[in-house]
Symmetry: C2
Subunit: 342 residues, 2 copies
Amino acid sequence: MAVSTAKNMPPDGHGLALGVDLGGTKIELALVAADGTIRHRCRVETEADAGADRVIEDITKAGKELIEGASSSGSGAPTAVGAGVAGQIDSHAGIVRTTPNLEGWDDVPLASRLEEAFGVPAAITNDLNAITLGEQAYGAGKGYDDLVVVFVGTGVGGGVITGGRLVEGAGGYGGEIGHTTLIADGRKCTCRSRGCLEAYVGGWAIAARARDAAREDEEAGVELVRLAGSIEKITAATVDRAATAGDPLARRLVEETGRLLGLGLVSVIHTFNPRRVVLGGGVIDGMPNLVPIATEVVQENTMKVFLEDLEIAPAALGGDAGVIGAARWARIKGANEKSEGT
Amino acid sequence: MAVSTAKNMPPDGHGLALGVDLGGTKIELALVAADGTIRHRCRVETEADAGADRVIEDITKAGKELIEGASSSGSGAPTAVGAGVAGQIDSHAGIVRTTPNLEGWDDVPLASRLEEAFGVPAAITNDLNAITLGEQAYGAGKGYDDLVVVFVGTGVGGGVITGGRLVEGAGGYGGEIGHTTLIADGRKCTCRSRGCLEAYVGGWAIAARARDAAREDEEAGVELVRLAGSIEKITAATVDRAATAGDPLARRLVEETGRLLGLGLVSVIHTFNPRRVVLGGGVIDGMPNLVPIATEVVQENTMKVFLEDLEIAPAALGGDAGVIGAARWARIKGANEKSEGT
């Protein structure tokens, strides 16, 4: 059975769990077996502006239809439900505290709402923690007890397994690696601080840095601006295309972004001493030069003993990591509560 | 009994343990009871240039004398021995990999050498991890399962308890918070990187920044240079004295240092979501304005949910944290090995 060999993680339990990946544009739902395979799945649009009640209704309806459909093809009912949500999620109390992508979701007790809806124990966590749990058990982190997952998309998110267990923190908000300081008092971030890793290497930040640079040096960025259509339309994707086409400004931006990502990884490596760092997300996938540049920076700037068994690897589960990890989280939390209760 | 209430930490065991705090100038040894109280203690000088064999002989001799003396006053023998050592310590294998303060200590299997010497199980860890274990069970972190300890002395060291357990990492080197990037490509650090937290707020770095600033602006730093005797003699202590005396350059340096420490703490708080951050070390004690400045920066720059139950507190065990924590580590590791072996 392809479950994690991590020595400190509670057993995953048996049977199917319902995993929910609640994003700003779509909700993925899957019935996931204990070996991490998706048995049945569906996807619905997220009514991001309609408030929590409506979205929870949509999850309930889609989940029940999925379970009924699976039942008619011989599947049992799920024994637990887990959800991953972007934002600050109190994983202990099961409450969505704040989420950047959804309107009207402050302090929503999503876990208890899902328990009521499906009649089984429910657990929730941050979307990146769900991805990390999925990758650790069934993907690029399989068999690793000390693992850091960093996803660079529009924003930068992280999840950490140390000594075989997920870093949750006191309120369940831990693992916000995108909001570690990279350049003190640097560029304004989306959080309350300045100079965060995300404020340089997140997709929105690459685009903002590129627009600023193109305004400063019109000559160097001529190909970049031509490809984008205008300075205002520059995105991380156009930066990558322009760099490939030889635009000197775009090349410098890719080089700088890789270097800054690498220096952010040095922080994480010195903090956690992971065996493996897993990188994923749209910017990592869309800017293939970032990882080799960042890797070289890590090799040059990390203390040598930390490098001995360190691997940097791409994420392996793609878009499925969220639902698979959310289902696993439901099993882990369910097992813990049972063992704590007895 | 004043032991930790941390829920995931193995029990501390019973009886006395011998704790060793191996520093660059002195070795502290103590027989520590399971409630964290020091029953008997001694201190010897470290022959830092004499190589590992000689220093281990000195530890053995001092430890045996301590045990004999304690025995004559009715104490039992220790059931375990633990040591904290500055540097990169493989806490799993019990090997001192590298240490900045001692000559000839590369890859020394200190744990097995101590086991041979004392005939009881031995465990070793980084000095800051030992302090963290001491503070968590018996000091400023008592009862906290999510705790970050940051010590600012000549260097900057850290230790982290997350979910009730020490962050060790794959090789046991985790918790090097002093070597997280604070200003990418900034000032040269003592590690292989640039711009680390330590390279700005460590005692050596405050002195170096002050010397650079005094050279750049002789007028502003006139009182600082007068107090120090010359630019070359400026230390972190003279910066604090000059700031108190109203020297504008020294005041600016203290303000900047507090701000940079605060931004380093923002990283740690976003990463671990601790309930409590414990600050200690010679620079923290000697520059009393740093903590209020850093605390204000944390309040302004940290995401709000992380601040809800966050406390910043001074270390409570003073110079005893190292031996007390080393003794506790010996008990924790001994208990783990027993439970893994059965």
